[in-house]
């Protein structure tokens, strides 16, 4: 019924192109297209789309500024956090679009005929969410090393001055690994559970029962994008701070 792993559609140059990859490409294209549409011919008194974008960017910027109180770090951190938010939001909401997850072709696997969809919601692929989590954690490490310097940042994790600090350093190291797992599984679990829920609801009472669950999915998609971006922000902030 629902497969855990994404289905490969074609192989290009030896690399498998899965249906979730197609959806993420589509989401990225839409984000780029809408952004380009908003910023061409920018006016001092903005039109509608530019106005919406300016409102959103100003709100996000003041939110990031309130969390990180230094102006320099805000300018470094703001593009990454906002891009993560917008991209995950569009990928989540694109999964609810008509045509995504419904149009496909029949394939026979080991005696059974299964429907392989052309598009599948992007974050139902653990590879996708793991990639985003790696980006977040790596960005936090790079920002920490850039702000504090290699030695001071390394002394947060490996510290031989004190037995207590040594153990705290080991715990910090383990907690960084746990962040990877936690980030990827939170987003993957929410989106995959939502997809399974919609399929099961459509199986029981098609056209009517999926409706309240789709409303829930809209909300959950927004909250998960928000949580991913906010957690990235908080981890970027704590990476620039000294160990206590």
């Amino acid at each position: 019924m629902v497969r855990f792993l994404p289905e490969t559609l074609v192989h290009i140059l030896g690399l498998p192109i899965t249906n979730t990859l197609l959806t993420t490409w589509l989401a990225a294209l839409i984000v780029i297209a809408v952004s380009l549409l908003a910023v061409r011919r920018m006016k001092m008194v903005p039109g509608t789309l530019q106005n919406m974008f300016e409102l959103f960017i100003e709100t996000a910027h003041s939110f990031v500024q309130d969390t990180i109180h230094q102006k320099k770090v805000t300018e470094l951190v703001f593009p990454l956090v906002t891009t993560i938010f917008i991209y995950i939001l569009f990928t989540n909401w694109l999964g609810l679009f008509p045509g995504i997850g419904s149009i496909g072709f029949w394939e026979t696997h080991g005696g059974e005929r299964e429907l392989v969809h052309f598009f599948r919601p992007g974050n139902t692929d653990i590879n996708m969410t793991l990639g985003l989590a790696i980006v977040s954690v790596l960005a936090a490490q790079i920002l920490g090393i850039a702000t504090l310097g290699m030695l001071r940042y390394g002394s947060k994790f490996i510290n031989f001055t004190n037995p207590i600090k040594f153990f705290v350093g080991i715990l910090e190291l383990i907690s960084e690994m746990a962040k990877l797992i936690s980030f990827s599984f939170r987003l993957f679990g929410n989106m995959f559970a939502g997809e399974v829920l919609l399929i099961v609801a459509a199986f029981f009472l098609p056209f009517i029962l999926p409706l309240p669950f789709m409303m829930l999915e809209l909300f959950v998609g927004l909250i998960q994008a928000l949580v991913f971006a906010m957690l990235t922000l908080v981890f970027l902030k704590t990476a620039t701070e000294e160990a206590h």
């Binding site: 855990f4 993957f188 908080v234």
Partner: protein, 77 residues
């Protein structure tokens, strides 16, 4: 033999998700209660409290999602 295998599998799946969401749901309720108390005491700070509440609820829900992922792996793999 295969029916016993599938029956055990179904049992494990149901037990995993059933027990796994017990503690996170209580946790989310407590977070909500704390947030309500705080907003009731200080309605001006409602925006900040709401922001911190959403973040904490997402953390608590993530644990329930881990249990869900284990249940899904048991069922579909």
């Amino acid at each position: 033999m295969e029916e016993i295998q599938t029956a055990q599998n179904a049992f494990a799946v149901a037990l995993t998700i059933g027990l796994g969401v017990l503690a996170p749901s209580i946790g989310i309720g407590m977070i909500g209660k704390g947030a309500m108390d705080a907003i009731g005491r200080n309605p001006e700070a409602a925006g900040k409290i709401q922001g911190a509440m959403i973040l904490s609820i997402a953390f608590a829900e993530a644990i329930a999602i881990y249990a869900l992922v284990v249940a899904l792996i048991l069922k579909f793999v």
